[in-house]
C-alpha cells in the first residue's frame, strides 16, 4: 500500500504540546511518517479509516471516549492498524483493559524518542511491547479511573 515502505503513524492525544512534540520527534526518524493527528478519543476510528496508518499511538485519557475504547473499535474494524497505548500513568485496570481491547503495547509517554521509535517498529512487526515500570505502576490501588473527576 505504501511505496515508501516507511511506517505510517497516527497520533491521538488531547494535549497539543505532547502530541505536537511527539509528532515532531518521531518524524525525525527516517522510516517513520506521521500521517494523522487527533485530539479526541471519538475521532480516532474515523481518522484511522481515512489515513490507514500502520500503527496508532493512543493516549488513554482523552475527551469524547477513552483511548482503550478507541483501541477496541480499531481492532474490531479489522483495518490492520496496530495500537500502541502511550500514557502518562498506569492506573489500576488500565493495563488489563488495554490488553483485552487488543492493544499491541503499553508504554509511558516520556519514553525517550529513540526508544519509542524502536517500540513502534516492534509493534509494526507484530510484536508486543510492555514497559515493565508502567506494568508495576498499574498495580492496583484506591483510584478507580471511572470516578476520576
Amino acid at each position: 500500500m505504501n511505496e515508501t515502505r516507511g511506517i505510517r503513524l497516527l497520533l491521538a492525544d488531547d494535549q497539543d504540546l505532547v502530541r505536537g512534540g511527539l509528532a515532531a520527534l518521531l518524524s525525525l526518524e527516517p522510516d517513520l511518517e506521521v500521517v494523522a493527528q487527533v485530539g479526541r478519543g471519538d475521532e480516532v476510528l474515523a481518522a484511522v479509516q481515512e489515513h490507514r496508518p500502520d500503527v496508532a499511538l493512543i493516549d488513554i485519557e482523552m475527551p469524547g471516549q477513552d483511548g482503550i475504547e478507541a483501541t477496541a473499535q480499531i481492532i474490531a474494524s479489522e483495518v490492520g492498524c496496530r495500537c500502541l497505548i502511550v500514557t502518562t500513568f498506569g492506573r489500576p485496570g488500565y493495563l488489563r483493559r488495554a490488553m483485552e481491547a487488543g492493544a499491541s503495547g503499553f508504554v509511558v509517554k516520556d519514553t525517550p524518542a529513540e526508544q519509542l521509535a524502536q517500540m513502534v517498529r516492534r509493534v509494526a512487526a507484530g510484536h508486543r511491547v510492555v514497559d515493565p515500570a508502567l506494568a508495576a505502576d498499574s498495580l492496583s490501588g484506591g483510584i478507580d479511573p471511572l470516578t476520576e473527576r
Binding site: 494535549q15 505532547v18 515532531a24 520527534l25 525525525l28 502518562t88 500513568f89 516520556d110 525517550p112 484506591g142
Partner: protein, 218 residues
C-alpha cells in the same frame, strides 16, 4: 447487680459496634482523602513533567537545525517549569495540616506583606475539630484575598461557631475567575465538618463591593 452487668455488656457491645462503624467510616474518609491528593499530584504534575521531557527532547534536536525554534522551545520549558512550581506550592499548602493560631498569624503577615491592612477580631476559641476547619478556611480565603481582591483592608472574625473573612476589594464577579480548587475544596471540607459556606459581596451595589466569606457551624 445481674441486671447491671447485663446493661454494661449491652452498652459496651453497642459502643463497640458504634466504634467499629466509626473506624470503618474514618478509614474510608482517610482513604478518600489520600486518593484525592494522589489524583491532584498526578493530574497537576504528571502532565507538566511529561510535556517538559518531550519538549526538551525536541529542543535538543532543534539546536543545530533551527536555533530560533529551539530558543522558543526552551522558553516554553522555562515557563512551564515555573507554572508547575506554583502548582506544587499550592498542592503542598493544601496537604499541610494548618493550626488556627499559626494560621491567624500567617494571615496577618501575608496580608500586611501584600499591602492590605489586616484586622483580626475574636480569638481562636472553637474546639479542636472546628479549629482545623477554620484554619483551612482561613488559609484559602486569605490566599484569595491576597491573590484576587485588590483590597485595601481585610477583617477576619473568629468566633466559636463562625469564621468570617471580609475584604473591600473588587469583588468576586470582577475578579472573574471560575471556581477553583480553593473554594471547591473548602465547600467540601465545610460540608464534611457540618458547616455551611456562604460567599457574597460585602457591600451590595457599591462600585467595589468587596467579598465576604463565612463558614458557619449549623
Amino acid at each position: 447487680t445481674g441486671m447491671g452487668v447485663l446493661f454494661i455488656v449491652v452498652i459496651r457491645l453497642a459502643d463497640n459496634f458504634e466504634q467499629r462503624q466509626l473506624d470503618a467510616e474514618e478509614e474510608l474518609r482517610r482513604a478518600a482523602e489520600r486518593d484525592a491528593i494522589a489524583r491532584d499530584v498526578h493530574d497537576v504534575l504528571g502532565h507538566s513533567l511529561t510535556v517538559l521531557s518531550i519538549r526538551a527532547q525536541l529542543a535538543r534536536r532543534l539546536i543545530d537545525h533551527d536555533p530560533a525554534q529551539a530558543r522558543e522551545e526552551v522558553d516554553r520549558i522555562d515557563s512551564l517549569a515555573r507554572e508547575s512550581l506554583a502548582q506544587v506550592r499550592s498542592t503542598v499548602n493544601r496537604l499541610r495540616t494548618p493550626r488556627l493560631v499559626t494560621e491567624l498569624e500567617a494571615a496577618r503577615e501575608a496580608l500586611t506583606a501584600a499591602g492590605i491592612t489586616a484586622e483580626v477580631i475574636g480569638d481562636a476559641a472553637p474546639d479542636s475539630r472546628h479549629a482545623e476547619l477554620f484554619a483551612w478556611a482561613l488559609r484559602e480565603t486569605v490566599t484569595n484575598v491576597v491573590r484576587h481582591s485588590q483590597a485595601g483592608r481585610c477583617v477576619i472574625q473568629v468566633g466559636p461557631d463562625q469564621l468570617r473573612v471580609q475584604d473591600d476589594g473588587v469583588g468576586l464577579a470582577c475578579a472573574g475567575g471560575p471556581e477553583g480548587h480553593g473554594l471547591r475544596g473548602l465547600r467540601e471540607r465545610a460540608a464534611v465538618g457540618g458547616a455551611t459556606l456562604h460567599l457574597g459581596p460585602a457591600a451590595d451595589g457599591a462600585e467595589r463591593p468587596g467579598t465576604v466569606v463565612e463558614v458557619s457551624l449549623r
